[in-house]
């Protein structure tokens, strides 16, 4: 079975925020939560880069390691999901994540303390696939529909790649060969314990 991975090619991201918008729209993400965002480093200085970032669905996910109530789990395809039924909103995952992926809803729909929210790789959650309950809690389950994440699909420069990790790696490898330098696979090594 394919191991799903994201790759953001920082050499290609133009900070258009289409990925952010597409994600919010596709999943009807509540106000105050962006499951995906574009981070600009060295803003206005030499070496400025923009990086589209969300949950990277890490191989050894640090969110899972700190969660005191075991609400995270990994699917057979390597997608890291969490159960909003079990989450107690402690926010420990927010601090532990090197990508700042888990989000805390500013207007909680789940009681005063809220439940964390995060990118699902468009794979829904622990509810029945493509059910209204799954959509309400986690957003659309595009993987169950046979599709890949909407953010990567909408990326105009194909800076953001999503899919079978081997295929994603091959595409990036071809780019490196074509352009002659290897930088850009931001966070790949951190997430998947592979040199980027």
């Amino acid at each position: 079975m394919a191991r799903m991975k994201f790759l953001c090619d920082a050499e290609r991201c133009i900070e258009c925020n289409a990925c952010v918008t597409a994600c919010k729209n596709e999943h009807e993400v509540p106000w105050g939560v962006n499951r995906r965002r574009v981070v600009t480093i060295q803003d206005g200085k030499p070496g400025e880069r923009s990086i589209s970032v969300a949950c990277m669905h890490c191989s050894d996910a640090p969110c899972t390691a700190v969660c005191p109530v075991d609400c995270f789990y990994q699917t057979e395809q390597g997608v890291v999901l969490h159960s909003k039924d079990l989450c107690i909103g402690c926010g420990y995952c927010f601090y532990a994540c090197p990508f700042g992926a888990p989000q805390y809803p500013q207007a909680g729909n789940y009681g005063s303390r809220g439940k964390m929210d995060k990118c699902t790789f468009c794979a829904g959650g622990p509810e029945e696939d493509m059910s209204s309950l799954e959509f309400q809690k986690y957003g659309r389950n595009r993987l169950a529909e046979g599709k890949l994440p909407i953010c990567a699909e909408m990326c105009s420069t194909k800076a953001l790649l999503a899919g079978d990790g081997d295929q994603v790696a091959n595409i990036f490898r071809e780019r490196i060969v074509a352009r002659g330098f290897g930088s850009g696979a931001w966070g790949w090594g951190t997430a998947y314990s592979i040199k980027g």
């Binding site: 105050g32 981070v39 600009t40 480093i41 060295q42 803003d43 640090p62 390691a65 700190v66 005191p68 109530v69 075991d70 159960s83 039924d85 079990l86 107690i88 909103g89 402690c90 926010g91 420990y92 927010f94 601090y95 532990a96 994540c97 090197p98 990508f99 700042g100 805390y104 500013q106 207007a107 909680g108 789940y110 009681g111 005063s112 303390r113 809220g114 439940k115 622990p126 966070g187 951190t190």
Partner: protein
Amino acid sequence: MSSCYSIFKTASSSLGWLFLCLSLIGLVPISASAFDRYTAHGGPVRDLALSPDGKHFVTASFDYSAVLWSADEIAEKSTLIGHEAALNTAQFSPDGKLLATGGDDGLVLVWKAEQLPDESAEPIILRGHRGKIVHLAFSADNSMLASASWDGSIGIWPLDAGPEKAEAGVRFITGHEGPVNAVQFSDDSQFLYSAGYDGQIRYWRLANDEYLRSVVKNGWGVSVFVVDEVRDIVAFGSSDGVMSVSRMSDQTELLRVGDERVPVLSIFYHAGEGFLGFGNAKGRVLLTDTKDWSIIRDFHAANGPIWSLLVMPDAQSLMVAGLDDFITRWPIFEFPPEFLERPGPARRFHPKQEISNGERQFARKCSVCHTLKADGKRRAGPSLFGVFGRQAGGLEGYPYSKALQTSDIVWSAATINQLFEEGPDKVTPGTKMPIQRMKNAKDREDLVSFLQSATQK
């Protein structure tokens, strides 16, 4: 309730020396060594705050309580109960008269220091935030308290007329994109610095709450920071693993270290003693000398996040808090590098051994807040010892919510099953218990079955 372990203490006996020798040649793991542990809490410890006179410190915990400790003998003095959820932060006022705590309940509680040794101390409750409070700061002139919240705002609570009047005069500053993680007043109390998920340390004029500029634009979220206006430095730790110190006036970087993309979660600064320390999400503690920014200590103090760190008043030891119930004191200068190993036993909510599904459900989903024993160990929730047949809200000594105090539920296999099938918000509305549901009927059945045997009197 406090206990300590130290290989140096152990090593004073012949068995201890044997253990030490075996450790050094690798036959016995040398983790869990070279430090002292103190346990008062029944959940992760999120913050440490030292009183201005150095005589006491306070720990703020996931277990809904704060604990006052004497700093010299590290002895628990009193427990402060008042929050309705996990605590994230504690801070003494510069004059030492007040202690403020903030938590997941969105409340700021202000405690009068003279009442702290009294277990029945009643805090002043300040309401207004719509999200959890993660950091607090007093102004140097003791006239204001600032609160950083994940609702995206900064609360400014006036204290001139006393903390009782603070809620009436509160105002909220907004402008950060996303959660605010940390705050600090300027030395003259006219300005405020704040750091957030948006990667910026912003600078505000308090006369009109105007955003003036960003002292730091990091891109990745800034979790912790400290500003020393006299020395013209800003130090911060970020979610991408950067521990940075730079001059504010020209942004010259004086120190930049850290593990690539291991979030930095804690910072400690003491201008007088010349210490600046950072702690990260993988247990790394880095202590620097502020005179030349040389590294004094760089070691792994925990198997997990370092939520808070504090150089003790003796300037010889460092107190560290993390995902465990205990806090750990490490000597700063004395112990040899051979001992700088990553310590830490498996936590009760991280069971490693093969156990039944029911026990696993309890360990992973419930044990962080509940104990099964009758010994009254502190937890966020009440002990489940003898829970079957017990009236909800009926365990003497546990500070239940009003909702549970007036509940007519009697806990049984059926009602506990119902609690997790429908959720505490439906079965016991108004409870302090987080909303958790277990949708898998088999898991619920196994959990109830395990509890029936494990909680028997």
